[in-house]
């Protein structure tokens, strides 16, 4: 049974009952239905109800998760928002991943973006839950012949003032005939929340610990060939010649395809080996004999870039002025004992997602089906349309769980590659990147050198500050973007402040993101620690003096002084900052405002038996309104350990124009042994706008380096820290 009705100017609802009597709140499809939509993933082309509910007669509820889960918790947290407004008991809820909903006009699932901090997405989901609750209330009102205003809802039931109850499941049939009002039903007050703000475990934990959960790489597709690509290892290079005769002899290899070079696709020059299974494809690729044509410059190296950075900072050219407050030469006028200068060297970094990129694509005349963990499915859809000529409404994108992202899956390069290969092969293709591919063909965090100088006045306050940065720009048009902007701390807190930027040239493709905060903050927060040491001040007090200066406004260049000071104080209290450590242990602290959040980190470390031991890690974070405190804790812990791992061990290095790292032996990811023995996370209660917790990573690195200094008196100014520390010890 299906009923259609006008639900306002823009929204056409179809409320239907399945054979088992389950209520489906789903839209009428304005266009032809997409192929392969599982019946349980409801709804396309509908904005009134949002990501969609299935209410079973026995009151089990299925909620669709709109965004791709890559470890940021959206599969659990976003459905929690709907469940809250719908007044459910979370134990009733089963979560299902929704496919990409866009393609032709507005996306019925709202923004299917990267994280749960998107305020518009949160509001959209709240209305989805509130609308459904309203329909069920009206159904109960009709059943009892009572005014809907006299009824309330709780844990999946409508309750009358006389105590009578009806489950949502029992109301399903009746609710099917009710029209949504033109004005959206009211949302809950936050004080009435019973699910949001409660710690809730990962919704699909059982599938994950039993190996049942299928990630992108676990999808094979009927008749799809396994493809790997040999890509030019020289950034910007091209194919000169190749011999695939040995590769073609490998049992299981089906085809070898030279990828058409196209400036339209983001893919690099390469040769695809297609096979019936992974091992054959990998063997075939290993047997390709290829000569690459380098780009103009093959001499590029990280060491030369670092040298060029120092040369630029030593030279007479002042670089691109970024900001100038007060007197430009103030620092040089100071007596030497009040003046310090330091330089900090940072390498390129890779995303190194745990599950290397992969994509399964099937293309035919009528449409395409992509199965891939992508955080920008809209962009993926556009690439597929562009490369195939298909209409976007005929492109279906399924979003399996992805093994990490950290921004990597915002790029659709691997989707475009898979499309190019599948088109050339005329067959469905599952493209797989190996770990080596992933490290060698990423978009990287920039490399650079920061030169910091400052002077202190007779009250030991920072009176002048100079920050000069030489680095490889992400954006050629605005070279300093993200790397050293005029808002960079402590701009606005120091009367005499100069910032300038020297762009360095590289062939490597680079990426922006939260890791640029870490790039800058490592230098700034290390340097503040150095200033505290030189002037024999407490490192917490020095920072608080700046943040709590009575003359400073509440917000200075995005730094909310009270919030940042608060997390810093809490962090110092948690690590027991004032108690001196013995036995070679040292404490370090740092703080950072980024992405709208405020973060402070402290570490307690020691070098024991020639090895760095991290005894304790503390992070206090103010990330605005938290949906799921359990996930928020895990995200902040994750960002902390991400910052720690990158600072300690990771570097992508160029030599002779090539990236030297070929596997995790060259680019270590964090193991338990180096992880803190104890990690404590404190999230500040807040009703402010939500913040992406990834920004927490920035202050972890400098806090760790400051702790290493406290424990060893070795100041590490060159990353990765661990090899440099061992060299200096």
């Amino acid at each position: 049974m299906t009923a259609s009705f006008d639900a306002g100017r823009r929204h056409f609802l179809a409320v239907s009952l399945t054979g088992t009597g389950a209520l489906l709140l789903a839209p009428v499809l304005r266009a032809a239905p997409l192929p392969n939509v599982p019946a349980e993933l409801l709804g396309e082309d509908f904005t009134g109800l949002g990501p969609f509910l299935r209410i079973e007669r026995d009151n089990r509820i299925v909620i669709g998760a709109p965004a791709c889960e890559v470890g940021q918790g959206v599969f659990t947290d976003l459905p929690m928002i709907i469940a809250e407004e719908l007044d459910l008991d979370w134990s009733q809820v089963r979560v299902l991943q929704l496919p990409y909903g866009g393609g032709d006009g507005a996306n019925p699932y709202g923004r299917q973006g990267a994280d749960a901090a998107d305020a518009a997405a949160r509001t959209f989901l709240r209305h989805a839950g509130a609308n459904a609750r309203w329909l069920l209330l009206q159904a109960a009102a009709r059943e009892w012949n009572l005014p809907a205003e006299s009824l309330r809802t709780q844990a999946g039931e409508v309750i009358a003032s006389d105590g009578r109850k009806l489950s949502y499941g029992a109301l399903a049939r009746s609710a099917a005939s009710i029209t949504l009002p033109a004005a959206p039903p009211a949302l809950k007050s936050t004080a009435a929340y019973t699910i949001i703000g409660k710690p809730i475990a990962t919704a699909d934990a059982r599938e994950i610990v039993t190996g049942a959960c299928r990630y992108g790489i676990d999808h094979y597709g009927a008749g799809a060939l396994l493809a790997v690509i040999a890509r030019c290892p020289l950034p910007g290079g091209s194919l000169l010649r190749m011999d695939d005769s040995k590769a073609r002899k490998v049992s299981g290899v089906v085809d070898v395809i030279e990828l058409p070079h196209s400036t339209d696709a983001p893919a690099v020059a390469g040769i695809a080996v297609l096979a019936r299974h992974s091992w054959a494809a990998l063997q075939g690729r290993a047997l390709l004999e290829i000569q690459w044509q380098p780009a103009a410059d093959t001499s590029e190296s990280s060491s030369a870039l670092i040298a060029a950075a120092h040369a630029a900072l030593d030279g007479k050219d002042g670089g691109i002025p970024v900001r100038s407050d007060g007197e430009p030469l103030r620092i040089r006028k100071q007596p030497a004992r009040h003046r310090i200068e330091s330089r900090y060297e940072l390498p390129f970094l890779a995303h190194a997602v745990m599950e290397p990129p992969n994509a399964l694509i099937e293309i035919n005349q009528d449409g395409a089906r992509l199965v891939a963990a992508v955080q920008d499915p809209d962009g993926a859809s556009q690439w597929i349309a562009r490369l195939t000529g298909l209409r976007r409404q005929n492109i279906r994108i399924e979003l399996p769980r992805g093994g990490g992202s950290f921004g990597r899956r915002l790029d659709n390069d691997y989707v475009a590659e898979a499309v190019v290969v599948a088109k050339a092969a005329g067959k469905p293709v599952k493209l797989m990147w190996t770990r080596s591919d992933d490290l060698q063909h990423d978009r990287y965090r920039p490399l650079g050198v920061h030169a910091l100088a400052a002077s202190l006045d007779r009250h030991n306050r920072i009176s002048a500050w100079s920050h000069r940065c030489a680095a490889t720009p992400v954006d050629a048009r605005t070279p300093n973007a993200g790397l050293l902007e005029a808002t960079a701390f402590p701009a606005g807190f120091v009367a005499h402040l100069q910032q300038s930027f020297h762009p360095l040239s590289t062939h490597l493709p680079l990426a922006a993101g939260a890791w640029l905060d870490a790039f800058r903050t490592f230098a700034i927060e290390s340097f503040i620690d150095e200033l505290a040491v030189v002037s024999r001040q407490d490192a917490v007090k020095l920072r608080l003096t700046m943040l709590e200066d009575a003359k400073a406004p509440a917000t200075v260049n995005g730094v909310e002084c009270t919030r940042l000071a608060h997390v810093l104080r809490r962090c110092a209290a948690r690590i027991d900052w004032r108690t001196p450590r013995t036995d070679g242990r040292g404490l370090g602290i740092a703080c950072h405002a980024g992405g709208g959040g405020s973060f402070a980190h402290a570490f307690e470390v020691a070098v024991e038996g020639g090895q760095l031991r991290i005894h304790r890690a503390v992070c206090v974070a103010d990330i605005g309104t938290v949906i799921n405190p359990r996930n928020a804790q895990e995200q902040i812990a994750g960002a902390t350990l991400d910052g720690l791992a990158a600072t300690l061990q990771q570097a992508i290095t160029l030599k002779d124009g090539r990236i030297q790292q070929r596997g995790l032996q060259d680019y270590p990811l964090l193991r338990l042994g180096l992880s803190p023995r104890s990690t404590e996370i404190e999230i500040i209660d807040s009703t402010d706008d939500a913040v992406d917790p990834a920004f927490a990573s920035a202050s972890a690195g400098p806090a760790l380096a400051n702790a290493v200094y406290a424990a060893t008196t070795v100041r590490v100014r060159k990353l990765p820290l661990l090899p440099e520390l061992m060299r200096l010890l």
């Binding site: 396994l226 299974h277 745990m354 190996t434 080596s436 895990e634 991400d642 964090l670």
Partner: protein, 180 residues
């Protein structure tokens, strides 16, 4: 599914029992996976991981690095944790392999239970390998010291190590409790 693999439990080999293998093919390698017998007739150098994933579609063992660095492909070989990406079929043959799918297939293993309780998930990609490593560790050292935990070579890119530490501690408790 590659043609060179067959599952005698599911379907008898084509050609009847009297058919001799083609002379150019390597001898079929017998292997037990999660208690079921299989044969691998392809390249004996093929790592066990691809046999599990591509041939048997047991995709709980994850691909992460190719060379034993990450541990996401951990399986139990005769009860001991090994890297399936680095073990050729010729070496895995005649042994009993247990993958994450074979652990707690009906009831959760205490280590899996502990993982859920500690919410040691995040992206979750490395966790099946972490669980296998923890099962192996707790079998050898029911009360593991810090050095034992530190010796686990598995990596996690998400930074779920705080939850993994709690999960290992909880699993040790559950396993101890189970013995009483």
């Amino acid at each position: 599914m590659p043609k060179d693999t067959r599952n005698p439990a599911a379907a008898p080999p084509a050609g009847g029992s009297g058919a001799a293998p083609a002379p150019h093919l390597p001898a079929a390698l017998p292997i037990s996976v999660n208690g079921k017998p299989y044969f691998h007739e392809g390249d004996p150098a093929m790592p066990l991981l691809w046999f599990l994933r591509d041939s048997l579609r047991l995709t709980g063992s994850k691909y992460g690095c190719d060379n034993g660095q990450c541990g996401a492909c951990n399986v139990l070989l005769d009860g001991k944790a090994v890297r399936a990406c680095s073990l050729p079929m010729s070496a895995a043959a005649n042994h009993a392999v247990t993958t994450i799918e074979g652990i707690g297939a009906t009831n959760l293993h205490p280590v899996q239970q502990a993982w859920i309780e500690a919410d040691a998930i995040q992206c979750g990609y490395c966790q099946s390998g972490q669980i296998i490593a923890a099962i192996d560790l707790l079998k050898r050292k029911p009360r593991p010291a810090e050095d034992d935990i530190a010796a686990i070579g598995n990596v996690c890119r998400c930074g779920s190590q705080p939850q993994i530490r709690r999960a290992i501690a909880r699993a040790a408790e559950l396993l101890q409790g189970g013995k009483k």
